[in-house]
């Protein structure tokens, strides 16, 4: 299992701040990546498909470090999806 966190506008649109997910099955290309997690969530359709479409400008992190969609994800990881940051 992995923990998936959502922040700010995405948290509101998805209606949840976090959830536990089974790690997506390994594809032919090898280990699961953030993109496999993204695809699994987008397959829910509706706002999930809309917000997590590849052309959208969401950001991703694995274990509290900025990551990319090709970053590998393993069991027990903390994954996060969030909008571009606006602090300061």
């Amino acid at each position: 299992m992995i923990t998936v966190l959502y922040f700010a506008r995405l948290r509101e649109v998805f209606g949840k701040a976090s959830e536990q997910l089974a790690l997506p099955p390994e594809g032919g290309a090898g280990a699961a990546t953030l993109d496999s997690v993204r695809a699994q969530l987008a397959a829910r359709g509706g706002v999930w498909a809309h917000e997590l479409a590849l052309q959208r400008s969401f950001r991703v992190a694995v274990n509290q470090a900025v990551a990319r969609l090709d970053t590998p994800v393993k069991d027990g990881d903390e994954v996060a999806f969030f909008p571009p940051v606006t602090g300061g």
């Binding site: 992190a61 509290q64 900025v66 909008p83 571009p84 602090g87 300061g88």
Partner: protein
Amino acid sequence: MTVRVQEADFDISAEIALLRAGNPKIGAIASFIGVVRDLNEGDSVVEMTLEHYSGMTEKSVEAIISEARGRWQVMDALVIHRIGTLKPLDQIVLVVVSSAHRGDAFAACEFIMDYLKTRAPFWKKEQTGAGARWVDARVADDAAAERWRRP
């Protein structure tokens, strides 16, 4: 280095006094305070709420300060960022950098702020006369951070 994320306000005089206490090697202290404006994108801002990614926020700001220390001669650095509900006139963020000389202090302070704006996981939601809205990331902030990119 000190990084604090807190709801409470801060006092720049007290923070600077703490940072420089008993250190005669400091020759320069540069600081920046970000405050809440009453107008954004043409709408009056009544209040704003700041959300962050606890844990990642502290790590990312510490990484930014470490990078600044690698580029300039920095003796110490402090970042305080407020979260929760803030109103116009309220202080949001404080950056203080101490160094032997002003050039390093100025540059490191501006660098830390530019990187914080584009890398640290904070998000603002504004309550305006036109309703509530999440603040969009600004291209100008990306450009400001881009200036520091090394070839």
